[in-house]
């Protein structure tokens, strides 16, 4: 009887631990409510402005199309503390003046805006910042 109780307790504990862990892991993918992580887009342009604010920074990127028309995208990213921990600052993430930077990003679920969540930034010299995984 005691062994059966122990087995049942172990099974329940294991299931609870698995559920809690799964919940915690999935919770880290919170960006999915705002941005469509199943879609990816690539933009190349110049970062004209950095909003170094919390809870997430915003980069404004001027992207020129083949006709020369410029569209300004708003690109959201991580909190300032996380970027600081990685050694980045408002100045360093913007790159050099006029530098063409390529970003991979997830578009906003609200597709009416030129808004996206950055997953990777690649600078002119080839170095990259992987913001949400490689």
């Amino acid at each position: 009887m005691r062994d059966r109780f122990r087995s049942a307790l172990f099974a329940v504990t294991t299931l609870l631990t698995a559920l809690l862990t799964a919940a915690a892991v999935s919770a880290h993918h919170s960006v999915a409510g705002q941005f469509d992580t199943s879609k990816s887009l690539t933009l190349t342009g110049v970062i004209s402005r950095v909003e170094w604010i919390n809870p997430h920074i915003y980069l404004h990127m001027d992207v020129k199309d083949q006709r020369g028309d410029v569209t300004t995208w708003t690109l959201a990213s991580l909190p300032t503390a996380m970027l600081r921990r990685a050694g980045l600052s408002r100045e360093s993430i913007q790159g050099q003046p006029g530098e063409l930077i390529t970003v991979a990003a997830n578009p906003a679920r609200d597709e009416t805006r030129n808004l996206a969540w950055i997953t990777k930034m690649t600078y002119a010299d080839g170095r990259a910042i992987f913001l949400t995984g490689q």
Binding site: T17, L20, T21, A23, A24, V25, S26, A27, H28, S30, A32, G33, Q34, F35, W52, I53, N54, P55, H56, A76, L78, P79, T80, A81, M82, L83, R85, A86, G87, L88, S89, E91, S92, Q96, A108, R109, D110, L115, G126, R127, A128, I129, F130, L131, T132, G133, Q134
Partner: protein
């Protein structure tokens, strides 16, 4: 090779590397369990009168222990979900299940409802003050014989707490607040901070962990060498089945001074198009 030529080589290398390296250098060496152990083994400094000296700026990772940036061989940087990183800072592994308060059965439905609607109900996601104990240990402590002052550079703003340690009682007549009214006392070498008079707009932790205005928080600070052992206990008998002990933290002395928190601007939640959970670990 002369010192002068070495200096020029270093300057040239720094210029070639651009601003990234300068900021990376400012980060200092990464914390490891071994380094933490060595810091704890140092002598514990004391003030005149014999109390442990808590003064200093303390690295506590600001609740973002799961962020373990890696610098790659080509100079690239990976910030989140970078795979196994040797020598990461101590703390829970990414995805580790956090501890959660135990509520009386009649309040479980309320917790679930708040958690389910978390993007609407968690005020911390709207840039409001985070409250105690969710704010965690302070980033800087200023201590004298009469009081200690806690300073925080939180994601939601810069905050302070003034804690009398000379026997003054809790102040009366103050409006309830996010950070409450604190008094401190020494139990041997441990500073014990008792805080009451909270409003009920904050949570104890993520996922709907609400509290009432009857909340009392006990925080303990014990300096061990160049580290501080920190733990907070939340007591709210109106809704909690038992006191909730938050996960213990170890802080370490750092020479990286606090900075004013960048402005917190609530513009994210309006973009949420479904009920997705927005994790806010602390």
């Amino acid at each position: 090779m002369t010192h002068r030529s070495l200096r020029w080589i270093a300057l040239a290398a720094a210029a070639a590397a651009g601003p990234w390296m300068a900021h990376a250098a400012a980060q200092g060496p990464r914390m490891t369990p071994e380094r933490l152990q060595a810091l704890a083994a140092k002598p514990t400094p004391r003030l005149t009168g014999g109390r442990p000296d808590l003064n200093g700026t303390w690295d506590r990772l600001g609740g973002i222990e799961f962020v373990r940036p890696q610098r790659l061989a080509d100079g690239s940087i990976c910030i989140l979900a970078c795979g196994p990183a040797g020598g990461g800072p101590p703390g829970p592994a990414p995805g580790a299940a956090p501890s959660f308060p135990t509520y009386k059965p009649e309040f479980l439905a309320k917790v679930k409802d708040l958690s389910d609607r978390q993007t609407q109900t968690d005020t911390s996601l709207r840039c409001q003050p985070i409250g105690v104990p969710r704010i965690g240990p302070p980033g800087k402590i200023v201590q004298n014989a009469r009081e200690v002052v806690f300073l925080y550079d939180d994601i939601n703003g810069s905050f302070f707490r003034i804690i009398p340690t000379d026997g003054r009682p809790h102040r009366k007549g103050l409006p309830a607040s996010y950070l409450g009214d604190a008094i401190g006392r020494w139990e041997k070498d441990t500073l014990v901070v008792e805080t009451v008079n909270f409003n009920d707009e904050t949570w104890l932790t993520d996922n709907g962990a609400f509290h009432t205005t009857g909340l009392k928080v006990i925080e303990r600070f014990r300096r061990v060498g160049d580290t501080i052992e920190y733990q907070a206990i939340a007591e709210d008998p109106a809704v909690l089945a038992e006191p909730w002990t938050g996960r213990p933290r170890t802080l370490w002395l750092t020479d990286q001074e606090l900075e004013e928190s960048p402005r917190c601007e609530d513009r994210d939640m309006s973009l949420v198009t479904d009920g997705s959970h927005h994790d806010n670990p602390r």
